[in-house]
Symmetry: C2
Subunit: 213 residues, 2 copies
DNA sequence: TAATCACTTGCTTGTTGACAGCAAGTTTGT
DNA sequence: ACAAACTTGCTGTCAACAAGCAAGTGATTA
């Protein structure tokens, strides 16, 4: 008698095991984001994450194994969200329109979800350290973004909208570097850059230097 | 008679107090760079720095106060070296030539001093964390670079070599973001970008989008 | 000029509190 | 009953600090 009433998320008690872990996982990842924003990478402790999430000091350690393991999950969780957000907006576009849409999407993402964007940037910063255990996560995400952009450029060359003497790899590197660098500058000192204006100018620059004729 | 022979750095013994600190300071900063490259920010310990430098486990802590204090010194030391290197090469140039020379200089700097460039990038990464105590050092350096580039652009507009509808602040942000971002990509995965090629393309891109006519 | 003494500075060692990571135990779902 | 989620107890490591030791420095006196 697999009663369905059992599976309906009852307001207080009696969750299924899977629900329990899902809930505590989410709570700890959110707590980790909070604490990362408040105290940064080094001063965020596993005990504090567990307790802020409403559990014991040991749960974060038990669930994610290590501090790096938890940060890796946070990193992947936000990256997934961002890639979905991007994919949804760019759709089947390619060439210069795809690149411009991606710039707009990135700007709206950091405007709508500044918390996630900041946390991701903090984690990417930590990934610059040689022994950082979630370094490969950062590498993979950046590599994927480089590949996507290079493919947009190739498609643009293919349909004749982009000059054929352009090197897709170089443009992709330039483009992703611009986004990474801007996010860093914006994170450490929001007043130092006008992200929106810079993006608009970037779009003009892209058209000027890539567009055929 | 204040004999000079006393001040001549005798090969083994009898250093002046100032000499002693200068020597141990340098040794510890070099040791810190080594260890940062080997183990990253978190896994580099003050004790290991003191010992690798040939002193006791306590000296780094005593001299620099905190781990962040030491990293701040390392950051400033390398930044000074880079800014001198840059200033020497750019000289009194401005406008597009200054921007192109700076790109070349940056590439030759990371080729000639990869160790310093990598360490600096690791430290900048750590500065993304909210409570990082050397965050302001990163902010100041980046702000100065933004200002320098913006001034180059203004000078270029002034002498008529750069289009007058260009926004210097935006271009500066774009330019510094490109350099920061490329360095990050290069650091975490050297194979993913061709820094030299991207720089060459960036120079073409700058001329195409900034140059008058 | 040289010898001694008071003082300063460089450096080391002992100690404390905090944290990551693990293992053994307890509670909750199935 | 069993297993899975979760907690508590514990250990080794580290940053930070404080007390002490040793080497350098400057002034005084003869």
């Amino acid at each position: 008698m697999t009663v369905d009433a059992k599976r309906v998320s009852s307001p207080t008690t009696s969750k299924t095991q899977a629900e329990r872990t899902a809930i505590s996982d989410r709570a700890m990842i959110e707590a980790a984001k909070d604490l990362l924003l408040e105290h940064g990478l080094e001063k965020t402790t596993l005990a504090a994450i567990g307790e802020r999430a409403g559990y014991s000091r040991g749960l974060a350690s038990y669930r994610f194994g290590t501090k790096a393991g938890l940060f890796d999950e946070v990193c992947k969780s936000i990256s997934r969200r961002w890639l979905d957000y991007l994919t949804e907006r760019v759709g089947r576009q390619h060439g210069i329109p795809a690149m411009c849409t991606a710039l707009d999407s990135f700007f709206s993402f950091i405007t709508e979800h500044p918390r996630d964007a900041q946390v991701l940037q903090i984690l990417y910063g930590g990934a610059a350290s040689p022994a950082a255990e979630y370094r490969s996560t950062s590498i993979n995400i950046h590599q994927r973004q480089l590949d996507d952009v290079a493919n947009w450029v190739r498609a643009g060359i293919g349909d004749g909208s982009i000059r054929s003497d352009i090197d897709p790899g170089s443009v992709a590197a330039q483009y992703i570097a611009y986004i990474s660098g801007m996010t860093y500058l914006w994170l450490i000192n929001p007043g130092s850059v006008d992200f929106g204006k810079a993006n608009d100018d970037m779009k003009t620059h892209l058209r000027r230097s890539l567009q055929k004729e």
